[in-house]
C-alpha cells in the first residue's frame, strides 16, 4: 500500500512532465523530435536535471531548419552535458538545483571543463551566486578567456562575497580591457589581481554595495 502511494505521485509526475513538454513543443518541432524530447525530458527530470535546455535546443534546431537527425543529436548532447554539469557540481558539494545545473551546462558548452565547474562549486558561494558565476564564466570563455584565468577570476569574485550585480559587470570590464589592447587572458588576470587585493584591503570608497543600475547591455 505504501509502495502504491509512492508510485502514484511519481507516475503523475511523469505524466505531468510529458504533457508540459508536449505543450511547449506543439507546432514547433516534428513529431519524432517531440517524442524524443519528451522521453529525454522525463528521464532528465527524474534525475533532478532541468528540462528547459532540451526543449530550447529542439525548438532552436527546428527554427533554424536543421535536419531532424541533427536536432536529435544536439538534444542528446545537451542531455549529456546536463548530466556532466550535475555530477561536477555534486563533486564540488553543491546539491542539485536546476538553475545552477543549466548554468553549468552553458559553461561547459562555452568551453569550460567539468573540473572547472567543480572548482567554482568549491568556492562555497551560495547557489544563486554560483549560478551567476557559472553564467559569467561561460560568457568569459565565449570571449576567449582561457580556463585558468577565467576560473581564477570568477573564484576570486565568488570568494569575495560581492553582490552578484558586480559579478555581472565582469564581462563588460574584460571587454573594456581587451579594447585597450590586452589579451583576454591578461584582462582576466588583471581583474583577478584587483579582486584579490580588494578582498585583502576591503572595497575602495564608494564600492561594496550593489550597483544602482542594471548591468550594461551589449550595445549601450
Amino acid at each position: 500500500m505504501i509502495a502504491t502511494l509512492l508510485v502514484i505521485p511519481l507516475t503523475l509526475l511523469g505524466m505531468q512532465q510529458q504533457d508540459s513538454i508536449a505543450a511547449r513543443l506543439e507546432g514547433r518541432v516534428s513529431p519524432g523530435i517531440a517524442t524524443l524530447v519528451q522521453q529525454l525530458g522525463v528521464a532528465a527530470s527524474a534525475r533532478g536535471l532541468p528540462v528547459d535546455p532540451l526543449i530550447q535546443k529542439a525548438i532552436e534546431g527546428s527554427a533554424k531548419g536543421v535536419p531532424a537527425e541533427r536536432v536529435a543529436t544536439a538534444v542528446r548532447w545537451v542531455a549529456m552535458q546536463l548530466d556532466t554539469a550535475a555530477a561536477a557540481l555534486r563533486e564540488g558539494g553543491v546539491t542539485t538545483d536546476t538553475l545552477v545545473i543549466a548554468a553549468g551546462e552553458f559553461a561547459i558548452s562555452a568551453g569550460l571543463s567539468n573540473h572547472d565547474i567543480t572548482a567554482l562549486a568549491r568556492t562555497g558561494a551560495s547557489v544563486s551566486s554560483l549560478t551567476v558565476g557559472l553564467r559569467v564564466a561561460g560568457t568569459l570563455a565565449a570571449m576567449g578567456v582561457p580556463s585558468a584565468e577565467n576560473i581564477g577570476l570568477i573564484s576570486a569574485k565568488l570568494r569575495s562575497g560581492q553582490p552578484t550585480g558586480d559579478l555581472l559587470l565582469v564581462p563588460a570590464r574584460v571587454q573594456a580591457e581587451i579594447a585597450r589592447g590586452v589579451t583576454p587572458a591578461q584582462a582576466a588576470a588583471g581583474l583577478e589581481r584587483a579582486a584579490a587585493a580588494q578582498a585583502r584591503h576591503g572595497p575602495p570608497p564608494g564600492r561594496g554595495t550593489p550597483p544602482p543600475h542594471p548591468p550594461s547591455p551589449p550595445h549601450p
Binding site: 509512492l6 536536432v71 544536439a74 548554468a103 558548452s109 570571449m143 564581462p171
Partner: protein, 179 residues
Amino acid sequence: MSEHEFHPLVKQLLDGDITLADLPADLRAEGEEALRLLAAVDRSVVSVPAVTWRVMAGLEQRRRRVRPWLLAPALALAAALLLWIMPAKPAAPALVTVRFVLAAPDAHEVSLAGTFNRWDSHATPLVRSGPTGVWTATLTLPAGQHQYAFVVDGVRWVPDPGAPAVDDGFGRRNSVLTL
C-alpha cells in the same frame, strides 16, 4: 448422532418444567432414561480447537495491518511528493532593458530570435533607423542567461558581432547575453 426423539413431555422434564412424577406412567421409563443421559454429559470446560485461534489471530493481525496510524506516514510522504511535483511559482526575476543593434545595409528585414522568444524568427523584428542600414530593437528581458541570433531576410542566421558567441550544436554560433 442418535435419531431418537424424546416425547414432548420428556423434553419438558429435561427442561425442568415438570418432574418425573408428573409424567404419565408409560413415559416414566423414557423420562428416567433421558435424565440418565443428561447426567452423563461431560460438563468440563471445552477448549476451542487451536486452528480457530490461529484463524482469529490472523484476522486480528490483518485488522492491525490497516490501522490508520500506520497509514499516516505514507499519506504524508505521498502528499509531500504531490507538493513537490506541483510547479512552485518561482520568484519573478529582475527585468533588464537591452538594445540590440545590427548593421545590415543590404537587408530588407531583420529580426531577433533566441531563448527569450522561443527562437521565433517572426516575433521580434528590428527597425531600420535612417539610411545607414543600422537595425535596432529594444527589449526588456528577465535577468539570466540568453542565447540569440539575428535573422536577416528570414533565412540568414547571423550572430551578434558585438557579443560573445558559443557553438550552437548545429555548426553555427549563438550570441550570448548574461544579465
